[in-house]
Assembly symmetry: C2
Homo-oligomer: 205 residues x 2
Amino acid sequence: MLLCDIGNTSYHFYDGRADYREPAETFEPESLKETVYYICVNPQVKARLDPLANWVDLAGYVDRGNYYDTMGIDRIMACEAVDEGVIVDAGSAITVDVVRGGRFEGGYIVPGLGALSEAYRRVSPRLDYSFDFELHLDKMPKNSRDAVTYGAVGLLARDVRSCGLPVCLTGGDAPKLLPLFPGARHDPLLLFAGMRKIIQKARPC
Amino acid sequence: MLLCDIGNTSYHFYDGRADYREPAETFEPESLKETVYYICVNPQVKARLDPLANWVDLAGYVDRGNYYDTMGIDRIMACEAVDEGVIVDAGSAITVDVVRGGRFEGGYIVPGLGALSEAYRRVSPRLDYSFDFELHLDKMPKNSRDAVTYGAVGLLARDVRSCGLPVCLTGGDAPKLLPLFPGARHDPLLLFAGMRKIIQKARPC
């Protein structure tokens, strides 16, 4: 079974053994003949997939009653994969979602690491620091790099930690963020676990 | 006595009775003949002011031992004005600084509201929401506008509130942020209060 999570920049495939990515701009979905179960937050790609009979959009098989209308299908799939925890999905945006007792409790969205770096750079070249993900969050920063890192990702990390729930990191930038979340689980394939649960529940074929 | 706080975009003057702004790009500092006590975080403007004898840079009169080397002089002046509290200075960047017992304890920097909006927009047009500053911070967001607002300014507001200190808001975007900080003081002239304290201590003339 081939699964695919399509974001703003890439197709992320998982064939049950290995995962790999193809760039959203150049990959040709018509080149695949087998059935692909997918989710997609990229409207251009979605329009291209709609006419292809072997690409099955899992968005239609989710019980949306647990979520809100405009919530991204990628966030929903991550929540479906977890019974209790905080999910931090660090891609072009960083989403933080809380699930308790199998129910979505709410979540929020921060620009991704690249967009945050760019935002500081645009405010002033004097704020153009690389983030220090080894930052200690228990004391207030007393140098510029720490001050920028704390504002960019420290606030988020402190907020996530304060939930007192297991933390699961996923998304392309998860490895960078890991040191800010001691004890967190890193699961690059989290969304695929949610997709498999949905397929098992719905048996869309 | 004429005071001036020069930022990335404007000269902010205060003559002891009223404050007014002039755009950094077009204002001609040579046009003023009286003594102007100033602070400046804009290197282009600083270079232009250096040869002008009637423009007195207050940066040289601050005891920097309480702060760190690369800390902006605007943040230092705000801290000088306060004995106990959290200062939120919302301009092209938002700086948050903590002062306890007259001592700077540390602080951090977040991109300003304009830069944050731009960052969300660049990540995806689907995240292009105006922030809702009436957001309730005691529950997790369950709609997209709240999810974006919480990520942009809610985390910061929750962190500031958790300090348990008086909160003082200043900077051009302070009026927008005020609803997120119940009980906070809004002082658009806070930096000038710090500048006056420095002048009184140092008597630079």
